[in-house]
Symmetry: C2
Subunit: 630 residues, 2 copies
């Protein structure tokens, strides 16, 4: 409980953003959502130590999600050249000052996190591709691949260094964490039917897991909103509940005599080992206690081990499965960094082993392999990934011959679960209210045109604009992009010149290159700025409006916006279908999309579409009658 | 030579498109190039039988590339609902009548080809992702995954069925073709240096391979252009050369006494086996003959086997490496279906084994594992893939512990080779003159705007157009898309209504829904057509202009184009940077991009950009001075 409180205090008081898995946040960031604090240095600090404390406290949580988030945070810190707030800056790390490069780097960080957590370098690449990233290009592929190759080499040398046991439990199992190669992977048609059954039930249980996680999260958010103290209290009560299960449930089960010829000591003497004596007489062990009172990794290894090595009672597996399933659900959402992979794998493995033990007389497939397939079915049912989970499981267990079965189970459970609800990470993103852009447009958008979604007053600047007008516009709105319109005498008729960003305007105003007359100063004024001044600043560290010090007489002067205007913004005609505009917006990863008029004789721009204008809440708020078409 | 002639005759006389690997063609198709005959049923037929004859004739060619092409052809045949020409049609397969779905299906087909060829289902998915597909979306990921899962299950049941040896050599090695698990995968820092050296040299040799393949292809194309007979003669001479090498070179090497305790018979009695007697005295074998006079798969298996199982003389490896390296180069490009994977793996494995045998006194790594790494370095050096090759090699050899080293070698050889030239498939696409759109825009495009690239006369239609005008436009141009412009009285001023496709115009004209007056008939006229009439036809099977039978009095009548006009085509302003237009075009997979004017008072459309307008040849042809900026 001390460890639990430590994790909770860190999380509640220092960085609330560090609570939970972190994968949904990374996913949202990579989709283009620049939410402050998701990848801040304080989040990184709390994520690392909170995760250590949380896992050590014995919660049913994993370290995988937090490691992905940690990897992304480190990548972000490197990408913005260190942290100015904490006085850690590196000059040579200034090459990532734009959205795309920074996204690439963070994708690599997420891949490295998975690669390190599961010791699965290829799985890490595929996870980053399938789950994390919203845009993909071939350069990114070999970059993530390079990152995880480095992770693999570093991991391997650490494991080599720790082989003699001088690093405690680290490195157990070598590069392959849960080797299941000892059991023969032969199966017949009858086993195939059993596996399909396993996949269907696994899919249903997985989607039920998602449903309940969602409900529990909504309940917790009410408690958590009341203040940090309530967060800590919630963590304490869940910690108490977990302890009750771990130390209480084993009492209700029978003791088992030690196996005659076991390689391991029985009963276990030290802290690690899978034959816990618990309340049993000498030479006996309690198999439920052996699952509860050990590390999660060891519990999974026990469940995956072949039936010849270890046998579990059916009652043990049933109690363990039910306990872990519900503990996993109630633990996610409390104020500690908590991964979802380990709870799901644990629950799935015990479910699979349970089915395998039941079917033992009928099936030739080993119960340990059933446990592996059960874990696959749960993972497919909750997270809805396919290739990446398949490769991660392959790299975890080193059993290539099971590949066809694992693929089958993943596909079945994903398909079954998809008919009920969304994947758990998508659900969490939605629940957090992050404006996530889906890859496809919603069907009702086909009935609207781009002009319909434009809302709010449009503020435009002239090519050479009065300083006062710019300051006023920056003050009264929170827009990040403003259209620039060329008017006579700079053009024959009003025409769209381009788009100017708030951050660039602030830099320009700070430089005070003003003129008394309305004249174009030409591109040489930007030469007085350094390129990095216009670079995208680190999270929340850019120039603020308050940093400007414009005098009253300067307010009446003019400034030429042409040098900092993006002269070729992407545009759509106002009559373009909103669905097509959404595809364009998402496909090219835009932040602003200009809507231009179709007929002449009107102002040269109708409005600007941003991410929020494509959100269902916004569109359906404007056109409530479309709800029925939804 | 009989088999070689059979393959060549099929290829030269029936389907010239079936020659070569097929992967570049599939890659080009998936990039959006609708070249006729790439995926035609005749190509499929020749690809299957030509590949069988070619491999059986003993050429240094693989079956992997042709299997990818075969998979894509089958997918295409299914996607267009069978072949009308050969009277094989399926009504229920009509759901793929648009570009995107058909592309998805063909991607799945390509993935299935790799999965079947290497028995590597996950490798197949990744190959399709990394090398074949130009667009990627998450639905495609699980679809290819599903396809390869089916392939894995089917393959496994065939292998199970053939276990007793009733299918000849099929199924040898089970699901894992070249198991290298017998050698221990322990390595030290010194081995790491050796591996880096291997990777660098492998990258150089790989790029040299590409360079020479390119030169040879250009030479052969001069010969092949002279007619099918010359193609066959070329095949015969290469076949003769291959035979000379296979039967001639082993004579120059020494015989080796049979190993004392071998599991295999020595010397080999039947046709398969790795201890060929050749010219040697009894109880001796010729190891070079054992590599040449066996299947490619068996040769690779021998090279990958651990040094304790089998030893090769350094002279044998050297001769075999040089022979295979050059035979592989001169064989690609002759008129037979010929994959590149097997020649590259063979050359790479013998190179790696050679290095491994040299370094044996210094390195703790087995020579068989060096052969694996050598194959990886050659594959990385020629094909420049990363994750997919890594997973394919993993699934081929079932050695997860070598993963970090394989990743390292692939990255090193790819990086080294990338500094010399392009990947072999990209090179072939370029040499064939296919208008392949790269994912990134060329640097010189940043200095141009979209309006600069528009060329040629623009032909537009009015919203309600005279039939004669349409027919005339269809006759004199080969454009596939025409802008439709609304004019008074249908709108106040001329405005862009949308884009109409040639194929849709032909269907509409064929339906003869004409009116005497210039009036809008409204959307109900399309109801008299069936949806599938407007569907994208199979390759080269759509309506032709000659199929229309328009009478003279009908020429003066009018037809309303609004119902078949795409009302929201993607547009760019004429002042948009050409680089950005290229990104838009490629990113969304367009075929036509409308360029609209920026200033009012001009026609509402400036021109249409198509794939060809973005090709370097076209742009640099218009603006030759940009050559220097290139």
């Amino acid at each position: 409980m001390v460890l639990a409180v430590a994790a909770a205090v860190l999380c509640a008081y220092i960085a609330p953003a560090a609570a939970g898995s972190g994968i949904p946040e990374v996913k949202a960031y990579l989709n283009g959502i620049d939410a402050h604090s998701i990848l801040a240095p304080s989040t990184l600090f709390v994520k690392i130590f909170g995760s250590i404390f949380g896992v050590a406290a014995g919660f049913v949580v994993g370290k995988e999600g937090p490691m992905v988030h940690t990897g992304a945070c480190i990548a972000n810190l490197l990408g913005q050249g260190g942290s100015r707030k904490y006085r850690l800056t590196w000059r040579w790390l200034r090459y990532f000052k734009n959205d795309r490069d920074r996204r690439d780097l963070i994708t690599c960080g997420a891949a490295a996190g998975v690669a390190a957590a599961f010791r699965a370098p290829v799985g890490g690449v595929l996870f980053a591709l399938e789950e994390a990233a919203s845009w993909w290009r071939s350069a990114l592929l070999w970059r993530t691949f390079f990152t995880t190759a480095v992770v693999a080499v570093v991991l391997r040398s650490f494991i080599e260094f720790c082989r003699s046991g001088r690093c405690g439990l680290f490195g157990q199992g070598g590069l392959i964490m849960f080797d299941v190669n000892s059991a023969p992977a032969a199966y017949s048609t009858r086993d195939l039917l059993a596996v399909i059954f396993l996949g269907v039930i696994g899919g249903i249980l997985g989607s039920l897991y998602n449903y309940m996680v969602d409900k529990v999260l909504r309940t917790y958010s009410i408690i958590n909103e009341r203040g940090p103290l309530f967060k800590v209290l919630l963590v304490i009560s869940i910690s108490f509940l977990t302890s009750c299960c771990s130390y209480g449930l084993p009492w209700i089960l029978q003791c088992i005599p030690c196996p005659a010829h076991s390689e391991e000591e029985c009963p276990t003497i030290g802290r690690s080992g899978s034959y816990k004596n618990f309340q049993c007489p000498p030479n006996h062990y309690n198999d439920l206690a052996s699952l509860f009172l050990t590390t999660n990794d060891d519990a999974i290894r026990s469940l995956f081990s072949s039936s010849s090595e270890k046998e579990f009672q059916i009652s043990t597996l049933l109690v363990f499965f039910v306990a872990i399933y519900f503990l996993g659900i109630v633990t996610y959402g409390i104020a500690i960094p908590s991964g979802l992979f380990i709870p799901v794998i644990l629950a799935g493995a015990s479910y699979g082993r349970l089915v395998g033990t039941f079917l033992d007389p009928l099936s030739g497939l080993d119960a340990g392999l059933f446990a592996l397939l059960g874990a696959a079915s749960f993972l497919g049912g909750t997270m809805r990934m396919t290739v990446s989970l398949c490769v991660i499981l392959l790299e975890l267990t080193n059993n290539l011959l099971m590949l066809p079965l694992v693929m089958l189970v993943l596909l079945i459970s994903k398909t079954v679960a998809d008919s009920f609800n969304k994947g758990v990470y998508d659900q969490i993103v939605e629940m957090k209210g992050l404006p996530y852009m889906e890859a496809h447009a919603e069907p009702y958008m086909r009935n609207l045109v781009a002009g319909d979604a434009v809302s709010g007053p449009l503020i435009t600047f002239s090519g050479v604009e009065k300083v006062g007008n710019i300051l006023c516009a920056l003050k009264i709105t929170r827009h990040n992009g403003f259209p620039v319109i060329n008017e006579p005498p700079f053009s024959e008729a009003p025409e769209l010149c381009g788009l100017v960003l708030r951050s660039h305007l602030l830099v320009l105003l700070k430089g005070k290159k003003f003129t008394k007359q309305r004249i174009m100063t030409g591109p040489e004024i930007v030469r007085s700025f350094k390129a990095h001044e216009f670079a995208k600043p680190g999270s929340g560290k850019g120039l603020k409006l308050e940093d400007l010090d414009i005098k009253d007489d300067e307010m009446e002067m003019f400034v030429d916006l042409h040098p900092i205007t993006n002269m070729s913004p992407y545009t759509v005609l106002e009559s373009t279908s909103l669905a097509k505009a959404a595809v364009l917006f998402r496909g090219l990863g835009l932040r602003h999309l200009c809507v231009v008029p179709k007929t002449p004789g009107r102002p040269p721009i109708v409005g600007i579409l941003t991410r929020h204008d494509f959100m269902p809440e916004h569109v359906l708020g404007l056109y409530p009658h479309l709800h029925s078409h939804k």
